[in-house]
Symmetry: C2
Subunit: 322 residues, 2 copies
């Protein structure tokens, strides 16, 4: 195997400062549609995931480890559109995409259209670390997974009653209405700054409900759904993937910071505005090399969480209120 990731990028200032943030997807998430029990379940799972990642960073672990650990928790939860509980494609199957990037080396790994991988984020990491490639798709990615000792789960593992109902509703809407409205809720992602000054980002998704034709969104696309570079920032996006691909959203944030000197918040706001102008919606989490966090979105809500300056988890869901 050829190693593609040997040269370190200009390092972030290794002040020992750590920072961590996650998202659980942007979309039509409204307080009035949410039961207190459901909201509580989301808050608890986001808290668990953000704390899990942060504790890894506190104990000197790498940003990549923190990103992978938090995303695995979200993948394993049926609440989010990734791993177990992913939305179902038109054939009634979960079809999963994920990617991860190391800001120190610009190494990256991604998988798309896999059906039997419990934790796609871990497979994306194996592609990055154990293969000379960046992106593997479909059955080939699963063959690679087996060669790396990944256990394949049955396709039924991913299916939850709620997602089955969702698919039925989507198929009915399709029959009755003028067109297919994409259901875009719930991609998950994480960004980390570890005590060595290294940034990392990762994203995992089941994509669009009722999707066809092997459609792949932005989540496994380096530069669109995920990007990390120690010189600038780590980014994970969520939303209507086609718009994030066309705007090369995650990398554009980094480019605006590197080439125009914008802050993470300014760059993120500008890229979300570009997406909005094209007619798209969604959001992103951004972590810069100093530990500053921005979480811009133009959808009704975005599940998100971070660790504040006092080391406490902060969980937010809606636009105007926590």
């Amino acid at each position: 195997m050829i190693s593609l990731h040997v040269q370190a990028q200009p390092s972030a200032p290794a002040t020992g400062k750590i920072a961590f943030a996650i998202h659980g997807g942007a979309g039509v998430i409204r307080k009035q549609d949410m039961s207190p029990e459901k909201e509580q379940a989301y808050r608890e799972k986001l808290t668990e995931a953000v704390l899990a990642g942060y504790r890894i960073l506190q104990s000197g672990g790498s940003g990549l480890d923190a990103v992978e650990a938090a995303i695995k928790i979200l993948e394993d939860s049926p609440l989010f559109n990734a791993g177990k509980g992913a939305v179902l494609n038109a054939d009634g199957k979960a079809e999963l995409d994920a990617s991860i990037m190391d800001g120190k080396t610009l190494a990256a790994g991604a998988v798309a259209a896999v059906h039997r991988i419990k934790n796609p984020i871990s497979l994306a990491r194996a592609v990055m670390e154990k293969s000379p490639h960046v992106l593997l798709v479909g059955e080939g990615a699963e063959i690679f997974a087996q060669s790396q000792g990944f256990e394949l789960v049955p396709e039924t593992y991913f299916i939850t009653p709620e997602r089955q109902k969702g698919l039925e509703r989507a198929k009915e809407r399709e029959k009755s209405s003028q067109g297919r409205q994409p259901d875009k809720k719930g991609t998950v992602g994480a960004v980390a700054l570890d005590k060595f000054g290294n940034l990392a980002a990762g994203t995992s998704t089941g994509g669009m409900m009722n999707k066809r034709y092997g459609r792949v969104g932005d989540s496994p696309i380096i530069g669109a759904g995920t990007y990390a570079n120690n010189a600038t920032c780590a980014v994970s996006t969520t939303g209507w993937g086609e718009y994030f691909i066309r705007t090369v959203a995650a990398f554009d944030v980094s480019a605006l910071m590197a080439y125009k000197g914008l802050s993470a918040a300014e760059a993120g706001k500008l890229v979300i505005e570009k997406i909005g102008k094209l007619g798209g919606d969604g959001g992103m989490i951004i972590l810069d090399k100093h530990g500053n966090i921005a979480m811009p979105f133009n959808s009704e809500g975005m599940y998100r969480a971070y660790i504040n300056e006092r080391g406490e988890p902060v969980v937010q869901i809606y636009k105007d209120s926590p």
Copy 2:
């Protein structure tokens, strides 16, 4: 179907100036390895393709039409690693990727890992124009193709004796040597400026010889292998795809022009240098909104052609000589 491409970008100055350039791949292309007959065959096919695209622009056709027409000619030729004559994967099959982008609307379409599409660039265009998606992969992409009236060709259509021999040699090298050396020759691409001031770019490839695991390179990735934006430039890349993904190469050229005011030549040189520093190689063709062409590469050669100020085709292959 939902249309994703309704809003026009800031238009290039519509001076009526047209420009067109193509590439037939970068790699270890050396004068001493080339017979006069083989070189002549490449020069003739590149001339045919660059003239075909240019004539479309001359007669008032769109940049997208010119890009598609030229790439189809290169796909149909067994000389290049795209369409017929694509390198074969480890299973002995051609596995094809392509993408196209419209600089006016930032609409984009791409397909990856298709096996039975004669002209993947035309399918990428259908994804852009006839679906709400950007990227379709594998069998799903072929099902979409059939729904759009594309005729599927047998997998044997793509296989040439030369590529079969190449695969056998690659498998032998793999057995005997310390590792797998990727064979990266021959992706094709085109960039166009039409008389309406619209830029377009497209790329098509068979990827890496002897590839496994559903490996997908940069050619179908918007921002890595292909990018077009009327505000800046149109770009198509070729080379060791993993590096072009990690550097988000095509979009980075556009970002350096938009945010730092670099010329197409300066931006292209800088991005190829970044790729070289990471250990990668390859090249790209860039066309800016004023019709300036840059063709930077750090490999031994790059098949390339453009139409000069006098309307004549110029074909180049090697680094230091034409």
